[in-house]
Homo-oligomer: 354 residues x 2
């Protein structure tokens, strides 16, 4: 999704807001959802921005997601809290999680805040990065809203791509923002290959017979492979236990595949750890040292076959600047889907806002 | 290191203790080091147990590691602390880190404790698992004591295998203990292949020209590959910043290669996050749910080519039971090295204790 017309970010924000208002989301909540979905688009997480809007709207209209959620926060200890999302939009739940965790970490150094009865929240990096303006470190994980990976040695998809995002402040250098699925490739990428009728490279998926699966038309029966074999599988398992089970949220066999089910509550679980840098090193000293190491890494000898060394967070920052200035590229097929949605919701089409 | 004579765990403990006493480690500290090194052997982390003793002794005698460290703990907030290891043995430093973090987490729900001026502490899983008897979750990481991996796209080894370990309590099921390097394979495994003159499979290492390197005799010039390409590289980077830089400890270009340097302080950094399960769910409810999910995963359909599904922590528990009963297998070559050391230190040889 890197080609296509450029649409100004404020137009996307306004379009998403109108759609959310049309399905009964209160005004302030619609603003917040629109802002965070567009943030995913601005930072390059194209599969987690406005592209998701039709699915979100469909689930709200079908009763699978609550447009008027009453999100509640229970502080269970000075450094821990559990947020009950009341089946609301994940973006709203995670905003409460982040606000709570940042406030608690400022007081006691670190906070671990979990959430249950939530929903898909879009790009993981967005939530880890919410800590950066506060000069804090963020570690975020979530139970994915569908199981596309088996545990290592299994032929049954009982694990999700359960992503992990980590944000670390820096000084003059771009902050480090790592946002990785525990699978070799995201399921979104597989879907994109299927749409385009392209063969997948070996190493992404296998069939339930254990053989490589490269025909993307057959991806529905495939098993995504974890990064590092048993290592990525173990990582998806522990992140699932911590983001799901520990919060009393869905994991494993209980996960609702939100691609094929619009009516059942997902009971998505997330967690965010927030750590106050200044409890370990004076902030300026940490930033100076982080910058020095990041420069050492970027300026190290480039491996033949690469044009440059890119650190996690660099591309994100460049894209953010460039897309805020020039607009977000949205594929014509996506614009068409969004304007079909606009028709159904009787809101001003995106095309008319370009 | 799965064949070789079986040596009773108490004999290994006593041997390590005698060696530590001989190089000036105080009695109680020698006990603790011996216990934790043997715990690595008992749980199957053979490259991190008694096998490491000659190197530890060499560094203490050469002045690279302080046998009489005065480890200090500074609580920097209700939920955070920084431990200054005074260049002592990592096992002692990490024991203080774990004790501190568990005590703090009991009071405030979660604790993040970092350490600087420490040293190699052996098996990562041992420290994450220290939380389990307290029904807490542990997340541990460390900056490895040598750089064997480049950042993604680089030909210079400026990152270590920086391992991550996570321990999660369960009920009747074995607790989950994940202990993974961020590289496809550990450098210890590469060294074992070199010793045995075996070729490495493709995908473990590349040469600085970017081509696959399978000749283990040339592994000294090789670059270890991260799990999941840029993902494992990013993970090693953030773990290094959090375990090293944030604690004011070594990372990147500052890391001392402790294989080739016995005299300089390593300034190893670690961190341990401890989370109190009962702040999120009643303990019994969490354990019941964890058991249910672990059984679902283990009893799922086995992939052709696998004989069973093994979850992280299962093998560890089985080995612990079996080795405590039947003794720890130690290769004859290792026994020989250890008894050469016994001669130098004028302590009773291991062979005489078998």
């Amino acid at each position: 999704m890197t080609s296509g017309a450029r649409i100004a970010a404020p137009a996307i924000v306004a379009f998403i807001k109108d759609a959310m208002l049309a399905v009964g989301v209160p005004d302030g909540d619609a603003d917040k959802i629109a802002e965070l979905m567009t943030e995913a688009d601005l930072t390059g997480a194209d599969a987690h921005g406005v592209f998701r809007l039709p699915q979100y709207v469909r689930r709200i209209r079908a009763g699978g997601c609550n447009p008027c959620a009453n999100i509640s926060v229970i502080k269970t200890a000075p450094a821990t809290a559990l947020v009950d999302g009341d089946n609301g939009m994940g973006h709203l739940v995670m905003t409460r999680v982040a606000d709570t965790a940042i406030e608690m970490a400022r007081k006691v150094g670190v906070a671990w805040v979990g959430a249950k009865r939530s929903n898909h929240a879009g790009a993981a990096g967005v939530y880890a990065a919410m800590t950066l303006p506060h000069d804090m470190i963020g570690i975020y994980a979530v139970v994915a809203n569908a199981n596309h990976m088996p545990v290592w040695g299994s032929a049954e998809n009982l694990l999700g791509t359960n992503p992990l995002a980590v944000a670390v402040p820096a000084g003059d250098e771009p902050p480090v923002v790592l946002d990785i699925a525990t699978t070799v490739v995201s399921y979104g990428t597989v879907k994109a290959y299927k749409l385009q009728g392209r063969d997948m490279p070996e190493g992404w998926m296998i069939a339930p017979d254990g053989k490589p699966l490269t025909d993307s038309a057959r991806s529905g029966e495939g098993l995504l492979l974890p990064i590092g074999g048993h290592k990525g599988s173990g990582l998806a398992l522990v992140l699932g236990l911590l983001a799901g089970t520990l919060n009393g949220a869905a994991f494993g066999r209980d996960v609702v595949d939100f691609n094929n089910n619009d009516t059942d509550a997902c009971d998505t679980g997330h967690f965010l750890i927030v750590l106050d840098v200044s409890r370990f090193l004076p902030l300026a000293a940490f930033k100076t040292e982080a910058d020095r190491h990041l420069r050492d890494l970027r300026n190290s000898q480039v491996l033949p076959g690469f044009d440059a060394i890119r650190l996690p967070g660099e591309q994100r920052r460049l894209r953010r600047i460039e897309r805020a200035r020039d607009g977000v590229p949205v594929l014509p097929e996506v614009v068409e889907l969004l304007d079909k949605l606009a028709g159904e919701l009787n809101i001003r089409p995106l095309r008319a806002r370009m």
